[in-house]
């Protein structure tokens, strides 16, 4: 089967890949670009574990073709931390014990990151609505909500002191 060359921006760097038209973004991220932080769960766009940012919006990478991101910007969980260390949402999931088995965590982190940009000062109900596309089969939702609340507070403090 013929492949085509695509280029896109991944976590701030330009990357190239040779892909079949039918290849999904999540497979190319994991298998060609070795970014295995993006997990594969249900593969039917229900569970949210494959959530990444596409041009500043949360999407499920199991239901986007790799060819569809040509020329666009993707951010995966590997792009969250910077030189100063973990991102506030990552630290908050540690502090609040927002994970049990950890399988859903990378999707939760990516959705929480984008959600807090969309709504920096959310109520608990808004967090539950904003995070509703991500499932945790350990059902550790309480601490996930707490982690998002904690990250929101931290990010707001950073903004105020900056």
């Amino acid at each position: 089967m013929s492949k085509r060359a695509i280029s896109f921006n991944l976590n701030g760097e330009s990357v190239d890949a040779m892909v079949e038209d039918r290849e999904l973004l999540v497979h190319v991220l994991r298998e060609q670009l070795n970014k295995t932080g993006t997990h594969i769960g249900c593969e039917t766009s229900h569970c949210g574990v494959c959530t990444v940012d596409l041009d500043g919006e949360s999407v499920k990478s199991c239901t986007i073709l790799a060819v569809q991101v040509a020329g666009r910007s993707v951010m995966s969980v590997e792009g969250l931390k910077d030189q100063s260390g973990l991102h506030a949402v990552q630290q908050a999931f540690i502090d609040e014990h927002g994970l049990q088995c950890g399988f859903c965590t990378t999707g939760m982190l990516m959705r929480a990151y984008r959600f807090l940009k969309e709504n920096p000062d959310p109520s608990e109900e808004e967090i539950r609505w904003g995070m509703s596309g991500n499932l945790c089969r350990c059902t550790g939702y309480q601490n996930i909500i707490k982690a998002v609340q904690s990250a929101a507070k931290k990010l707001k403090n950073v903004e105020q002191t900056a």
Partner: protein, 289 residues
């Protein structure tokens, strides 16, 4: 899971999309892809060519043309939710979009895709019927405009012909006295409706002057509960009459038994969703109860 083999085409104009659609047998338009790609993974759909219309700017956005709202077919659910224009002139659509799927999927799923797909579980078809919306359909032969009422023919079966695509949706804007209600029962976020009901009405004094009742996922496709509409039309909606209409909805349903319930349960829930939607519609229309 990976879809079967196909050739992918990204296009920038409607003309290009139509040309490709005509040139290839078994070509499919891909909009948000959140119905089509899962079906392709399961081999329920095996198009040989996929035409991606996400890059066509003219298919996006919402404008106001007098008393008509024109919604580009590729406008996604989150864009409907964020639209100040819809909030002002057709808040029903905002409420409906909020209950569709989840935040990530609402960034991809489009109103046109939801309508064209023909899945009885999709929410926009019944809402379009309740709104008396019209669909603008393009083909290489030109443009035609068809009413939503009559467009939905069966499961995965609509009035869309080979070689056609929906480019926009025209919705009559609400007036200050339009009443509306939408209620959807679902087991969890992201699920399709077990049953949903949309009611749009206007009152003249305490009498129902105009009413549309449309149902989701309790038949082979979205449908109007016309018997229930007739019971209420021209009358003052007393409790007894509302009960009569709810029973008419219940007997009009032909749901399919599945994990979310059997036929009897779903029909009863459809009637309950209609009662609640009607209650909201009467309230927003300013009925003095």
């Amino acid at each position: 899971m990976i879809p079967g083999a196909f050739e992918f085409h990204a296009v920038n104009t409607v003309q290009e999309a139509l040309k490709l659609l005509n040139a290839h047998e078994d070509a499919k338009i891909i909009a948000g892809g959140h119905s089509l790609l899962p079906m392709m993974k399961l081999r329920f759909a095996e198009p040989t060519h996929l035409i991606d219309i996400n890059g066509i700017p003219s298919l996006k956005g919402i404008t106001e043309e007098g008393d008509s709202l024109h919604i580009g077919a590729m406008t996604n659910e989150n864009e409907l939710i964020r639209s100040e224009l819809l909030q002002r002139r057709c808040p029903l659509l905002v409420e409906v979009a909020k209950l569709i799927a989840d935040p990530q999927i609402r960034n991809r799923g489009t109103i046109g895709g939801d309508i064209a797909h023909g899945d009885p579980g999709n929410d926009h078809p019944a809402v379009m019927m309740a709104l008396d919306a019209e669909f603008v359909i393009q083909s290489e032969q030109g443009e035609r405009v068809v009413p939503a009422n009559g467009f939905f023919l069966g499961t995965y079966w609509t009035g869309l012909e080979d070689g056609e695509l929906i480019s926009s949706i025209r919705v009559p804007a609400f007036s200050a006295d339009t009443g509306f209600g939408f209620h959807k029962l679902k087991r969890k976020t992201g699920d399709f409706a077990t049953a949903a009901a949309t009611v749009v009405l206007r009152l003249q004094g305490d009498r129902v002057e105009h009413i549309r009742i449309a149902m989701t996922n309790v038949g082979p496709c979205a449908f109007r509960a016309e018997a229930a509409e007739r019971i209420l039309l021209g009358n003052s909606p007393s409790d007894a009459l509302i009960e009569e209409a709810a029973l008419a909805v219940q007997s009009a349903c032909e749901p399919v038994k599945d994990l979310s319930g059997d036929e009897e349960y779903k029909a009863a829930m459809a009637a309950e969703m209609m009662r609640r939607a009607l209650h909201d519609a009467l309230q927003t229309a300013g009925a003095t109860a």
